[in-house]
């Protein structure tokens, strides 16, 4: 076991997959000589050369479309969004080309493509650098959307994403790159489509992902001290959602709280609540609660920014409220 920072876990995943498969390559802004804005590809160009760590001009829609073309013709590109928010500029290529093309072509082409990079609200980065694109992209057919949250799952999931034959949007969180964890020495790959039961419990199901997993776990410490026993599920796969894991948990606890960093309107939680309404309504002993970011552009001011995203205390209060409710 070796202590590894999350950004290095990602780097190891890319390094291992590039060594294993010569059709895997990375492209994006500053992924080569600079090593990536969060050093996820640091020095890999020295090992694999400039063509496999392709520094692109700042032209998000064109280099993303180019990755789609390379994937259609047999390569396995990894696009790094220097900041995932920049990929709003490539929305068309991700939606029309990466997401829908396999279907529109009647199965003629497959698109083994990973689009990865830092998302989420950082520390006072301003609205444009604090986006949560997973919510915007969840409606696009054909995409898989994954959010990693620990060094262990970051490495195993990224390796799986690279091997997957579908376009995978792989969200890292700008504030999690320096998380540290001991990783297995032996190679491992994690399933892309499975949620992780982080803490089994009986009282309430908390569904979360990415950085909010850690806010939830902070809240859980307080809640344990107060005698609560929540079940925490890290969704991991935001599209498709892993109902095989989520469903039985709802049937067990009968209470659900979604904790997410995306905005409330049209968010991941909105989709979850709607699906629970469709399929698990009879199982519920309380209304499903959604703790989401405020529906505002993320403000620069630190205090306002903290008020924008969900804090552990709110999670504690939500659990106390929903568990107390008797229907």
């Amino acid at each position: 076991m070796a202590e590894t920072l999350l950004f290095n876990a990602l780097r190891e995943a890319i390094d291992e997959e590039m060594a294993r498969d010569p059709s895997v390559f990375v492209l994006g802004e500053d992924v080569g000589h600079y090593g990536g804005s969060y050093k996820v590809t640091k020095d890999l160009y020295k090992k694999y050369g400039d063509l496999r760590l392709l520094d692109t001009p700042i032209a998000e829609n064109s280099f993303t479309g180019m990755a789609v073309g390379a994937a259609m013709t047999g390569l396995r590109p990894i696009v790094e969004g220097m900041n995932m928010g920049f990929l709003l500029l490539a929305f068309n290529q991700i939606s029309n080309n990466a997401g829908m093309l396999r279907y529109t072509s009647g199965g003629n082409f497959k698109i083994p493509l990973v689009i990865r990079g830092p998302g989420g609200v950082g520390r006072q980065l301003g609205a444009e650098h604090s986006q949560r694109l997973e919510a915007y992209f969840q409606a696009v057919p054909g995409l898989k959307i994954v959010a990693c949250s620990t060094p262990y799952n970051a490495k195993g999931l990224l390796k799986a994403a690279i091997r997957d034959d579908n376009p995978v949007l792989f969200f890292e969180h700008v504030l999690l790159y320096n998380l540290k964890e001991s990783l297995p020495e032996a190679e491992y790959v994690l399933p892309l489509d499975r949620a992780e039961v982080v803490r089994p419990g009986q009282d309430v199901t908390i569904l979360t992902y990415s950085r909010m997993r850690h806010h939830v776990l902070q809240a859980v410490k307080t809640l344990e001290g107060r005698g609560f026993d929540p079940e925490v599920i890290d969704l991991i796969s935001l599209k498709p959602l892993d109902w095989q894991t989520i469903g039985p948990s709802i049937t067990k606890t009968h209470r659900v709280i979604v904790v997410e960093e995306c905005m409330k309107t049209g968010g991941i939680g909105a989709e979850i609540v709607a699906s629970i309404n469709d399929n698990y309504f009879d199982q519920l002993d309380a209304p499903v609660l959604r703790l989401s970011s405020a529906d505002i552009p993320t403000p620069y001011n630190g205090s306002l920014e903290n008020l924008t995203i969900v804090q552990p205390l709110q999670i504690v209060e939500a659990v106390e409220k929903t568990v107390a409710l008797q229907v």
Binding site: L51, A59, A67, V68, G69, M72, R102, S105, G106, N108
Partner: protein, 342 residues
Amino acid sequence: MVQERTLPEYHSAATSLTRADGLRLYEDMVLGREFEDKCAEMYYRGRMFGFVHLYNGQEAVASGVIKALEPTDYVCSTYRDHVHALSAGVPAREVMAELFGKVTGCSKGRGGSMHLFSAQHHLLGGFAFVAEGIPVALGAAFQARYRQEAMGESGPMQVTACFFGDGACNNGQFFECLNMASLWRLPIIFVVENNKWAIGMAHERATSQPEIYQKAAAFGMPGVEVDGMNVVAVWDVAQTALQRARAGEGPTLIEALTYRFRGHSLADPDELRSKEEKEYWLPQDPIKQFAAYLLTHNLAQEAELAAIHQEIRARVEDAVAFAEESPEPDPRDLRRYIYAED
């Protein structure tokens, strides 16, 4: 009417076009024309739906470029893609069946007129948003260079022919991709089919430099202007661009001056193009010009050309019959092809 650009003069003395090539090109152009005329008929008879953009008048461009390619090369098209698909070798039956929405279509009835695809024939698609196919074509070209240099594969360099119109040349993806193609010396031929109109937007009203081929210079690549109504001229510039791409010397921008003989789509009332403009272009019909060329250069006899027309008409009729008789997609397969595993 805006003063017409003078079509560049062409001297065929040096052409590499053989009699066999000539007959092949002629057949391909006639197929394109007959197929599109049949589409118009079928559309008005309610056999096909949606937006249908026909290629009449521009046949010399598709045939002159695509018929110069090898089967291992790639073709990338736009919403006006029927004839590019046919030239790339997608059978007329499969294209017609796609337009009828049948499961035997090249996109299994999921794509339609603007989304023709064939992995087998290296047709990267039918892209319906203006200019969005250019980056995809760039990716195929990158792949060719990558396979040789990063994966050590041998064999001739695959070339990608990327087609788009004058309207696309004011879009950022055009400039971004020209830059990257030249920067990385990618084996790609950018073929602009300048038919003067982006639906109702006249080219001169949309661009600060109407001579599109001149834009290549900004990226350090050759830009060539060609008479897009003359298939021999197109064939010749395609050969030069192909040799350059295959030798690893990088991209070429070809601006083919051409004209669509019908409206933008079958839904376009075509009210803005003047009578004078049409009278200038219609007599330059590329098929008639090429027939005259083949006859005067003793590359073909009247009877041979007539036989080609007859054979193509039969092939198009067969394509319609095939499309008519083909089954609809199975409703149980509605969600199939979303993911690679489906």
